[in-house]
């Protein structure tokens, strides 16, 4: 298919994924489905509220070529993944922070994941803080926070939820080398929503600051070492657009993303924490 893929989103999904403006930023690839053609839209957008995997499976069954899930909560994705594989549907997860292009680059570009993982061997401490507005469900924030952490850090061990209340949460655990990690959620309107990840190593570390996807504010990834401090190239692209651009690539190449497999790891981790 060479023309634009038609897109259909419910009002809730449209708001959750900033769909209108994001689709408008990829005008040669995507276009809103006309009212009389909505039942045959190529791409369906699903809001990531509880039960989103069921809605996405219905979209697969309806013949969607692509599905974008806007900010999904942790949920068992196995049945959805099987259905999508069988139907050849590309399912892309638009994650609040984890989809930011600075975290995981396409191709050989420098990114936060490489910076963090190459430093994990000499890690002393990984300390992370996520912030969002008061009134937010802290467990929802925790899911978004863990998704960003897992995107860059790889496996996390011995995780414990130390507290979770109306002001936030604290999680602690260990990295692969035995060094501690902590993740704190803070509900406040006094600082911009976002997640801050700091890895401290023997001679420096990595600092990652990821903003909300409301605008194309770039994440900042700084690598500190004996060389000084290196700021990775800034990418003025929101997490939303990055997710849609990946969908474009998969639809064009006829490939399927591994978003659901990655998300299953988050779901397992989240379930483990819920039991602590």
């Amino acid at each position: 298919m060479s023309g634009p893929y038609t897109v259909l989103a419910s009002p809730t999904a449209r708001e959750a994924g900033a769909v209108t403006q994001t689709v408008a930023s990829l005008p040669a690839t995507f276009a809103p489905a006309a009212k009389n053609l909505q039942s045959t839209a190529d791409v369906l957008v699903v809001a990531g509220e509880p039960g989103w995997t069921d809605e996405a499976r219905r979209a697969v069954a309806a013949g969607a070529r692509g599905i974008v899930v806007a900010n999904p909560v942790p949920e068992d994705t196995r049945e959805l993944a099987a259905a999508a594989n069988a139907a050849g549907t590309a399912v892309v997860l638009d994650l609040r922070w984890a989809s930011n292009p600075a975290l995981v680059a396409e191709g050989d570009g420098p990114d936060a994941r490489d910076a963090v993982r190459s430093a994990l061997g000499t890690a002393s401490l990984l300390d992370s803080v996520a912030a969002t507005a008061p009134g937010t469900d802290p467990r929802r924030l925790l899911g978004e926070h863990l998704a960003a952490l897992l995107a860059v850090s790889g496996p996390l061990h011995e995780m414990l939820l130390l507290r979770c209340d109306a002001t936030g949460y604290t999680v602690a655990g260990r990295l692969a080398n035995g060094a501690p990690f902590t993740a704190q959620g803070v509900l406040t309107a006094a600082r911009p929503a976002g997640v801050d990840i700091r890895l401290y190593t023997a001679d420096g570390g990595v600092a990652v600051q990821v903003p909300d996807p409301d605008a194309a504010w770039p994440a900042e990834v700084r690598v500190t070492g004996t060389h000084g401090e290196l700021l990775l190239p800034t990418l003025y692209e929101s997490a939303h657009r990055s997710a849609w651009r990946r969908l474009k690539d998969h639809l064009g190449a006829g490939t399927r993303p591994d978003d659901l497999a990655g998300f299953a790891r988050l779901t397992d981790l989240y379930a483990t924490l819920a039991d602590t």
Partner: protein, 364 residues
Amino acid sequence: MSHDTAPADRPLGVGILGAGPVTQAIHLPALARLQDILEVRHIMDVDPAVASSVAARVGATAGTSMDALMNDPAVDVVAICSPHQFHADQVIAACRAGKQAVLCEKPFAMNAGEAARISAVSSETGVPIVVGAMHTFDPGWLAAEQNWGDLPEQVHTIRSSIVLPPNARFEDFATEILTRPAAGEPNYSDINVIKNALRGGIMGLAIHDLPLVRRFTPDFADIEVLQVLHVRPFGYAVSLRTPTRVIELRAVMNSTWKPEWTFEAIADDAALHIDFTPSYVQAGSAVARLTSRGGSETRTFGPYGHNGYEGEWRELAELAKGTRQAPSAQALIDDLTFALAIADATVDSAPGQADTAEKAGVSA
């Protein structure tokens, strides 16, 4: 005891007990910037060579006797920079010697009993005592304090994060150090070594900011430790809470060149964020940012021209001259008991980490 005040046109005389790296790299450079109001006149150290060498740098009398320093009429103000275990007795001795003010490096006592003894002697003699919690004298902190309104009542989350290179990096920027304590390689397979490191982390590093934490924690007496993690080569990750506050303490001392020393007090709609400058170097004050109205309004205070160490000496001079009211002895005791409670609870919460860390280290 008489409290003779130095003539207004004459600098106050300073006597210093202990001439180690902190005296050499922090106090003497700070005092060199204040020669119009303070003059070092007597240096005491148990090592006569160190005492002589350090005293010679500033033209002061050298000695190995605390009594000689206390009895030196040229000394108006005493600074206690000796090992922690000597602090209480030396503070009391300085008060009884009729000095005009006493600066005691933190912690000013090792237990509540010592603190109460000091408080009683300070009340009896009227000698003001300043504890060297330098950040409470930092102009950036003080400016924020003047402007934060009811933030201390609104805060729900407090964070102190300290990332520092080895002290020697900044000592060498500040002065030419004569002697340094020998650095050993700790055996972290021994849980008692870890416990000692954690206690040292709280009482030697976190204690710099615990008075700031306490300022935002009205129910500080009801502290609960949620988790303690030991950070190698030196540091900690301690999660605390009171009935109304969450307190997170982080520290890493490694071989980085980049210091980061931050303090945050966060409420629903307002917050204080402070970036402190590293100790030892004369790098000016902290920069404090007060954010309010849900983040739409930010006021920045600093940087100002001097740091908290210089600030505490300025305050000490004013106290000695009687132009400023002495700090509340109860506040000093509360700061100390708060720190001791956290240190004790931290050590009590630490068991088992040596085994865990070793296993993880093998599998890494």
